[in-house]
């Protein structure tokens, strides 16, 4: 669990930054998750006060590998999602794919950092998706599913049913925010 939490911190913050304690919560725990808020935040990968330098020294696995994992799964299982990237080199590990995957993970990181105001944190991204990108909402579920598969495959013993429920709810909230301005 510690490795999972810190892996996610590594992906969410620039190197050398301290993780911040979240403000008082309004994000509700899934009712099936019977634990305190601090434990929940750990479950979604949000830890409290990492030592400066920890991020630099303890990257459990490279972020690009994770991006390659979930991207490959998305495009293999749901080839229709490739229609949103006609201008991309979609070969595994391509620079464009890594760049875009990083943007996705950074957005998720912002949502974790502002878990009690995901709507505020992703407001601009929500407008981008509604008015410019107009990705069909069904695709967010597909991406979230592939992220969950990648996390499960990478951290099987940490990905307990409770963690699964927390992640599913969290990613679902992010997806809802990104599509709520569509109409």
């Amino acid at each position: 669990m510690y490795r999972l939490a810190h892996c996610l911190i590594c992906t969410y913050y620039k190197r050398g930054l301290r993780a911040e304690r979240p403000s008082d919560a309004s994000f509700k725990l899934p009712s099936s998750v019977n634990c305190s808020r601090s434990v929940f935040l750990k479950l979604v990968g949000f830890s409290v006060y990492l030592p400066r330098g920890f991020v630099r020294s303890r990257m459990p696995f490279p972020l690009p590998n994770f991006i390659i994992m979930f991207s490959s799964r998305l495009f293999s299982s749901y080839p229709q999602t490739k229609t949103y990237f006609p201008h991309f080199d979609l070969s595994q590990g391509s620079t464009q794919l890594r760049g875009h995957g990083s943007k996705v993970m950074n957005a998720i990181g912002e949502a974790v950092k502002n878990i009690d105001d995901i709507r505020g944190a992703l407001a601009k991204l929500s407008e981008l998706h509604a008015y410019i990108l107009r990705v069909d909402p069904v695709n967010f579920k597909l991406l979230c599913h592939c992220i969950l598969c990648s996390v499960a495959a990478r951290y099987p013993s940490d990905f307990t049913p409770e963690v699964h429920a927390a992640w599913d709810k969290f990613l679902s909230s992010v997806s809802s925010v990104l599509t709520e301005k569509y109409r």
Binding site: P30, S31, S32, V33, N34, M69, S72, R73, F75, S76, S77, Y78, H145, L148, C149, S150, A152, A153, R154, P156, F159, P161, E162, H164, A165, D168
Partner: protein, 147 residues
């Protein structure tokens, strides 16, 4: 009729041979009930489903999970004829059990996640793609006789 490539068949049957049906079935159903708690509505007579611990330890959940995944094994054995394989089960789920077919999709995706956790790097993107196709086709077959 669904076409399966030789590679897809190999990815499906090869993995299925290594699946512990009792364990994976129990885990898949438990996760369904935990991650999507509204699915508990179909299991009022299962006793204590009040917490993840209760669900995971519930013997009825384990038994039913094993039953569901055993039935899934029929799909693996009959990839070329899933409609016929699930015809009676489809009627049952519509007429007697009254299950929204959306739940077949949810359980299918949960099964994929359980397989990913059990087989880790062996559950490659290509393997996942073959299994996603299978769970989609099974869900479709189960919904086919709905009216």
């Amino acid at each position: 009729m669904v076409h399966w490539s030789a590679e897809e068949k190999q990815l499906i049957t090869g993995l299925w041979g290594k699946v512990n049906v009792e364990e994976c079935g129990a885990e898949a159903l438990a996760r369904l009930l935990i991650v999507y708690p509204w699915t508990q509505r179909f299991f009022d007579n299962f006793g204590n489903l009040s917490s993840p611990t209760a669900i995971i330890g519930n013997p009825k959940v384990r038994a039913h999970g094993k039953k569901v995944l055993t039935s899934f094994g029929e799909a693996v054995k009959n990839l070329e004829n899933l409609k016929a394989t699930y015809s009676k089960l489809s009627e049952l789920h519509c007429e007697k059990l009254h299950v929204d077919p959306e739940n077949f999709r949810l359980l299918g995706d949960i099964l994929i996640i359980v397989l990913a956790a059990h087989f880790t790097k062996d559950f490659t993107p290509d393997c996942q793609a073959a299994w996603q196709k299978l769970v989609r086709v099974v869900a479709h077959a189960l919904a086919r006789k709905y009216h």
